[in-house]
């Protein structure tokens, strides 16, 4: 399955994205859905750890950190926030 949009791992700090697709299967997909990474939901990129991985996201009023392994498979389109590049 290919999904349109930017991987969350590539989104700039402070930007807000609406999730367009999740390219993960099985138990991990279930876990991400339970945490609020659901298509249509908004996610804010909060900050990066010193080495750039993991990245903290704000989703459904909670801060969740994801490794690149997961965040690179969640796609979204930017709907606001952050600096323009």
């Amino acid at each position: 399955m290919t999904v349109a949009g930017t991987p969350l791992s590539e989104a700039a700090n402070g930007s807000i994205l609406r999730i367009t697709g999740i390219d993960v299967q099985g138990v991990l997909r279930r876990r991400l859905l339970d945490l609020g990474f659901v298509v249509g939901n908004a996610v804010e990129v909060l900050r990066r750890s010193p080495l750039g991985d993991p990245v903290a996201f704000r989703v459904s009023n909670t801060t969740i950190a994801l490794r690149r392994e997961e965040s690179s498979l969640i796609y979204g389109e930017r709907i606001g926030g952050g600096r323009d590049e």
Partner: protein
């Protein structure tokens, strides 16, 4: 005097344990779930002359992601079948919290939704339509603040109504896509024949469609244990008869 069992379910950080401690006070003890390194607490409280055994399930976001915590919470609700499952939600992030509520309600209608931190939500200007939520979910809903001890009596009244059977609701029925519903329709009679009417067949069929191996393993283990227990009983009678 009958004693009811109330299981406390909820996301982490919803004040579930604050409520549990408030109700049970010092009448509680902690222990481990059988075979699992998941810590649990049990306690007791009384209301209107009824005694309740309170069981604090591990705080989880879901019952489906197969961590030890979630398996323990799920297995308790399905196999121990508490008289009431109390789902504690954080009023300030209901959307996230309702995920677990929906999962519990698909298993059992013997539940009360407890919206905690209602004072905090009011401070943040969040308005919650309790009647609309109760109507949509089909079970009693109470708004409380465990920390400020607001709404506790009303909550206990609702727990009593469900425990005594004054209100009964079937498990919440969510209609899925045609393909999934077809799968459920095919599987449900098989599930009913295999596990009997004691367990929610539609829900088990749904989990099987999702490929939930962990539930399958628990179900198998539970049924074997029950079989072993009943065959042991028969053996016991035989031995007595020989004497």
């Amino acid at each position: 005097m009958s004693k009811f069992t109330v299981a406390f379910a909820g996301n982490p950080n919803t004040g579930k344990s604050t409520l549990f401690n408030l109700l049970t006070g010092l009448r509680q003890h902690t222990g481990n779930w059988a075979g699992k390194t998941v810590i649990t607490a049990e306690g007791e409280f009384t209301h209107n002359g009824h005694t309740y055994k309170a069981v604090d399930l591990p705080g989880t976001y879901s019952l489906y992601s197969n961590s030890a915590d979630e398996e323990a919470a799920r297995d308790y609700i399905i196999f121990e079948q508490p008289d009431v499952t109390l789902v504690v939600l954080d009023a300030t992030s209901l959307e996230r919290n309702l995920n677990l509520a929906l999962q519990v309600l698909e298993i059992t209608g013997r539940a009360v939704i407890c919206i905690n931190l209602i004072d905090e939500a009011r401070r943040l200007g969040i308005e919650i339509d309790l009647k609309a939520i109760a109507k949509r979910l089909g079970v009693p809903v109470a708004a409380i603040s465990a920390r400020s001890e607001i709404g506790i009596k009303q909550l206990l009244d609702q727990i009593e109504r469900v425990a005594t059977g004054a209100v009964t609701a079937p498990p919440l029925r969510i209609t899925y896509s045609e393909e999934i519903e077809q799968g459920i329709a095919e599987l449900t009679p098989l599930v009913e024949r295999t596990v009997g009417s004691r367990y929610p067949a539609r829900w088990i069929a749904l989990r099987l469609l999702d490929g939930d191996d962990s539930l399958l393993a628990s179900l198998k283990e539970h049924m074997e244990r029950k079989e072993a227990a009943s065959s042991k009983e028969v053996l016991g009678h035989g031995v007595t008869a020989c004497h």
